[in-house]
């Protein structure tokens, strides 16, 4: 189970990323954030976001057109 969850379903680019960034502020180092999105572009975008920001993309999956990402903030 993720420590935090963000429902970004129905939102289009770049809102899932912007909301994730905001949500990560409440995620402590070492904790995880789960993001749910219906934007197919968010698959590539969360990979790029995590590479650039040093967060870890633990999981990226798709079920019934809902994309799920699990991001871990690196331990400080």
């Amino acid at each position: 189970m993720a420590d935090h969850t963000l429902d970004a379903k129905g939102l289009n680019c770049p809102l899932p990323i912007l909301k994730a960034r905001k949500a990560l502020k409440d995620v402590a180092a070492g904790e995880t954030l789960e993001i749910l999105s219906t934007d197919p572009g968010s698959v590539a975008d969360f990979e790029a976001f995590c590479r650039q920001t040093g967060n870890q993309l633990l999981e990226s999956s798709n079920e019934d057109s809902v994309f799920r990402f699990l991001i871990k903030r690196p331990a400080a």
Binding site: G10, L11, N12, C13, P14, L15, I17, L18, A20, R21, D39, F49, Q52, T53, G54
Partner: protein, 179 residues
């Protein structure tokens, strides 16, 4: 993100100085129609969310994007690529028809409805996201004069500057975009 720093020589001192590796971005915003307002605000808010310091320079028709109250419009005139999805097809307008009164207003309403349906953020929200993320905004002084705007007409946050102000930013940015 690595914390490596590259070493460059400082022409005035001849001594090497460390330049931080953090990437930064600047955008010159020159267009103020509903459609053209999106790329700069999307890229600025996203870059800021990814940790890049961002500066936006608002000049000419981009300057009114800083007005307190936005009422952005778009026009189909001279834009043959503007085709909207309608009843399973994509419909465009012949240039001649785009000159009829009310056509631009109708196109604007259709576009705003479409954006709302597809979960695209209103420009006001993206602008707010930029301000929340400390995106630096510069209003072009010459354009303020030219179009007779006052900085008091604008939202809180932007500073006033000119070409040299922007060039100093651009000279220290890794990514410089003109939109």
């Amino acid at each position: 993100m690595s914390s490596e720093a590259q070493v460059v020589s400082d022409a005035t001192q001849g001594a090497p100085v460390a330049v931080p590796e953090t990437k930064s971005m600047s955008i010159i915003v020159t267009k103020g129609s509903l459609d053209w307002a999106y790329p700069p605000f999307i890229l600025a808010s996203t870059a800021a969310a990814m940790g890049l310091p961002v500066t936006m320079f608002f000049t000419f028709y981009g300057l009114p994007l800083l007005l307190k109250k936005l009422n952005l419009q778009l026009t189909a005139a001279g834009n043959p690529a503007m085709k909207m999805p309608m009843m399973g097809a994509h419909m465009g307008l012949p240039n001649l028809l785009t000159a009829l009164p009310g056509v631009d207003a109708a196109c604007t309403v259709m576009m705003k409805n479409l954006m709302n349906k597809k979960g695209v953020a209103p420009i006001e929200d993206l602008r707010e996201a930029c301000l929340d993320a400390d995106v630096r905004m510069i209003a072009c002084q010459m354009t303020l004069d030219l179009f007779e705007y006052s900085i008091d007409d604008m939202i809180e946050g932007p500073e006033i500057g000119g070409a040299a102000t922007y060039i100093e930013v651009a000279a220290n940015s890794h990514i410089n975009l003109f939109i």
